[in-house]
Subunit: 342 residues, 4 copies
């Protein structure tokens, strides 16, 4: 059986990464590719690294173009997915790589995105408790945000094991591709090379409520998250440095044991050996997550650090992983744990 | 009056940056330059950016070579400054750019550096309360570490104003020059470009006790600091993302007022207008510090972020600033608040 | 006497670099600053590295605003300088950092810029024979292009000494700031980091006729130039790798002697010692030019390589250097030969 | 049939890239991995991006360890391959990724490498005329150098079609991984970020005779090559800007036709559509080669530019491609034309 997949938003970074992965996925045939202002252009001019698709031409994002596919990936600006999804019918697997269907609390959505809440779909982070069951056979998938993917995988074991107080502090550095391909002055190479800078400081980043939602579920109660994203001079990768106050009785051993248990059988999440620390270069282009954890007894905090590729595990790879589950394929089909380094 | 200055350790990054600054300092005449394994080599081969000094030749680091100068800067590996300083006599201004004389508690020194404590000299961070008075006329100066400079300036106003609880969480990203010029595989360009990675996680970094010392003095009692340094793909710069739990009654206004008061008259520390955030590129090659602060009411934390050039304000510029005070010169002589950007 | 200078186009990279230099120029007082779409904004928001000017507000680029200054720098898009210059009167020193007045042959201008030729002003590359005399006391200066600055200084000694045939091949790598601050997708950090790419291949780059003009003058006859610019993953710097077929009788010694003679007394052009090669990092933020030359006997070519900072010696530093000559100041006033490295 | 492959030199960049490719090659089973000073270490500590091999331990490079494999890849320092190859027997396919067996003229080898010539093996650049026939069934393969791969593929069509005079000028920019993983001060991230610099100028680079050999074969007579390599601030990629004087009668159309004919059926070499230029980012991690060509009528030169990944098509991918031919597999098995971008 060959599954035909369409990609709405094929000219951006998320769409390009998705196509890179689908091209080597043995069960997928790439169908329609759509773009907004780029409709009519050759993909070779927009995504020159995707040589096998160079002569494909982008179409308009319409229901007619997207019809007749088994899977439709939506790599659209926030707030545009619901209208497209409605037209696709209940039998089509719709994978939303935007934020529209991630948040459970409509108030969160409205506060951070400023529009009416579209709903909630099964959440595509298979490593969370219960997530795989919700994804199996589902016809709708909400792909997590890139920062929440990194932060959730770093901190959930500490909460699940009851080791951490319900207050987390997260500082994450992201490559510039996370900010997208629309040209903006502060994202010019001249501006970002040689510079580190924060943004969305003080709780304002839209991924904050998604982290709170995930960590709260693991903790069994409300968790506060102080989240500061920073822009790093690299194209890809997120390094999430997360910490939480340790509960009384926590030891280095209990922390390590919790993480070993959590990730012993996960195909994509690798707890590094003691003494080795994550590096984004090691997961460049890979769906793997490097995790390491320490207990700082003097400061009384658990420090958990994860590295992902924001476009792969953080977006398109996570989407394919969840699609595989939904379609009943092996979860790792078409995905790699091998980074492109140096 | 011309002040003659010698630089011990002129071939490394700290020494090179110091020479870059001394070359434009109107009151300094550059005297002897020494190196370790590099003695006998032309500076032009080692520091090709310092064209006016290209034909100077490095000498051995001996008491004879360093004799006859008014100021001697020590840019030596940790633990080597005391032996050299002893030979220089009490009338020579000795500025130690290493760690040897920063820590007050011998136990801290021994735990983090593994050798006998050499003592404590006046601490060269003029922006701290009382620091300028201690530096005036002093013949010994301990230049702060680069990370402690960034972190202390970010957090001290919150502690001085009584707004923060005594537990701070710091994640800082540093350019690779902070790791020095000795060739190591993990510092190769191939390894660091495109990668973010942490090191010294869990309280092990040697700059941790220095931060605790500074913040504790401001808080009037012991402060815990969870400090995670990360290596960023850039040559220079530190972005320090610092936070502390807010005390009851804290508001965005009280936080901003504390920082405005603290830095209103500081020549090098600039509290940015609201809505603008620090970027290391803006202080590249400059002695300026960009600071911004936010209050995250939902998380109950004060977020203070600073950007410095690790080699300038973080090392050599800080050294010159304190030297100026010790010599009775205007504090900003030879120093710039203008960055080289983009 | 204090000279008052206005800068038209203060929000771009050339304007920002010029202000960085003027801020430390002892004979200049910075007057009006103008921008196009940015009029009314604080300079601190647009050029955050220029802290001493942070509170200055950009004005419109009008004759009224620019009136009353001794010097007016024009950092405007190509083709806009003539109209502004006409309104400034013959007693004002006008320094055009655009291309409008560089080319002598109207046909060249029309072919490469597509509009009517505005004229030719004294050419601001003091190192060329006769250039200083033409600049002294002049009220109009055409600042050279960044690539022509690097290429001309690399090759002119070979032509002046009669060592090279009249055909040059140039491949130059430029930092992204040379492409300006207007946001374009191919200049995003995500696109340029980790990538080298050419543009304007095959003779199409607008700086080609300027190189031909300069080298032809040195050779005393027409010179062909094959010029390929490439975009490098760095913010600043040009490395120009230039070669020309050697005339019969050329030797390594005759080549070196020609370059030593040419640059023995130049304050900003440094012929490196044999065995050392230029690096753009060494001239970062500096007005210096590093030059090195080799004779490849097997290939029969002279290889001359130069490194400059495209924004300093390549644009704003070159402008200040020529302004100094025009005003009768010491040529190096306010300029540095010290790079900011690493 | 499963082919067992050993890799001698698995801890370096070439060895790591080879393992990245072999891990996804459907016909290969990875056998012994050896290192020099790294024997006894876990691969996970040396090549953390190769997660599936993290627990493999490096062995000594001995005949015993390498025995019993169908293919042995040698990623050793220059001059060490012959001694190892002799011990492996004539039935083992030995793929030398070093320079030892590339050059036909012993005098070239001795002049550039300073030791006795080991011999010449079939040359692993399948795109050259006659190369595939020589590789089929061969038990020895000499993998080309990275620069010669890029330059040869850029210029050979011009020579084969008789369009170019026998003198080529090449300026190539390489990522730092081409310089290897041994720590050296000039390769530190602090030194290479933000800098472009040349090396081996004037004909001294060891890849020069290999280019001359390849281009001379295509031209049917001796070709001079002026080759200047430059180091670019990126980890991977080579951009080769090549030009040659055009023979009389050359036109833009004849040039394009020659390249279209040469690469119409090549699986890995892609002549880009007119107006699009190669970028190293587009072939990051891919075995593809992007080529574009122009005719500069004013300068009378053909400009041919290629982009490759120096570690993939330039080393390990080229090795796998030739191995496939030697083993009778489909030439593209296990190789990709999809880059990892941005």
């Amino acid at each position: 059986m060959v599954v035909r997949a369409a990609v709405a938003g094929a000219s951006g970074y998320a769409g390009g990464e998705l196509l890179r992965l689908l091209l080597v996925h043995p069960g997928i045939e790439i169908g329609a590719l759509t773009g907004n202002s780029n409709a009519g252009q050759r993909l070779g001019a927009l995504q020159p690294h995707l040589l096998p698709l160079a002569d494909r031409v982008l179409e308009e994002t319409t229901a007619e173009v997207l019809a007749g596919h088994d899977v439709v990936f939506l790599a659209l600006p926030h707030g545009q997915s619901a209208a497209v999804a409605e037209q696709l019918g209940p039998d089509v697997l719709v994978v939303d790589m935007g934020a529209d269907f991630r948040l459970k609390d409509p108030a969160d959505w409205e506060r951070f995105y400023g529009s009416a809440h579209a709903g909630t779909w099964p959440y595509g982070l298979p490593e969370l408790p219960g997530a795989r069951a919700a994804l199996e056979g589902s016809k709708r998938i909400a792909v997590p945000g890139c920062y929440p993917t990194a932060v959730t995988l770093a901190l959930v074991p500490a909460y699940t094991a009851g080791l951490a107080e319900n207050e987390a502090v997260v500082v994450a550095a992201s490559g510039t591709s996370g900010a997208g391909k629309a040209p903006k002055a502060h994202l010019l190479g001249s501006e970002v090379m040689g510079s580190m800078s924060p943004y969305g400081v003080g709780g304002g980043h839209r991924h904050t409520p998604e982290m709170i939602q995930n960590l709260g579920a693991a903790a069994g109660g409300p968790v506060t998250v102080s989240f500061t994203p920073t822009l790093a001079p690299m194209s890809r990768g997120i390094l999430a440095t997360c910490s939480a106050k340790a509960r009384p009785g926590t030891t280095a051993e209990s922390v390590r044991a919790a993480y070993e248990k959590a990730y012993a059988d996960e195909p994509f999440v690798h707890l590094l050996p003691e003494g080795q620390w994550p590096a984004t270069a090691s997961v460049h282009g890979s769906n793997a997550v490097q995790v390491q954890v320490a207990y700082d007894a003097a400061a009384g905090r658990i420090i958990a650090i994860s590295a992902i590729d924001n476009l792969t595990k953080g977006t398109a790879g996570g989407a394919v992983q969840s699609m595989n589950i939904a379609l009943g394929l092996d979860e790792g089909t078409g995905l790699s744990t091998i980074g492109v380094a140096p």
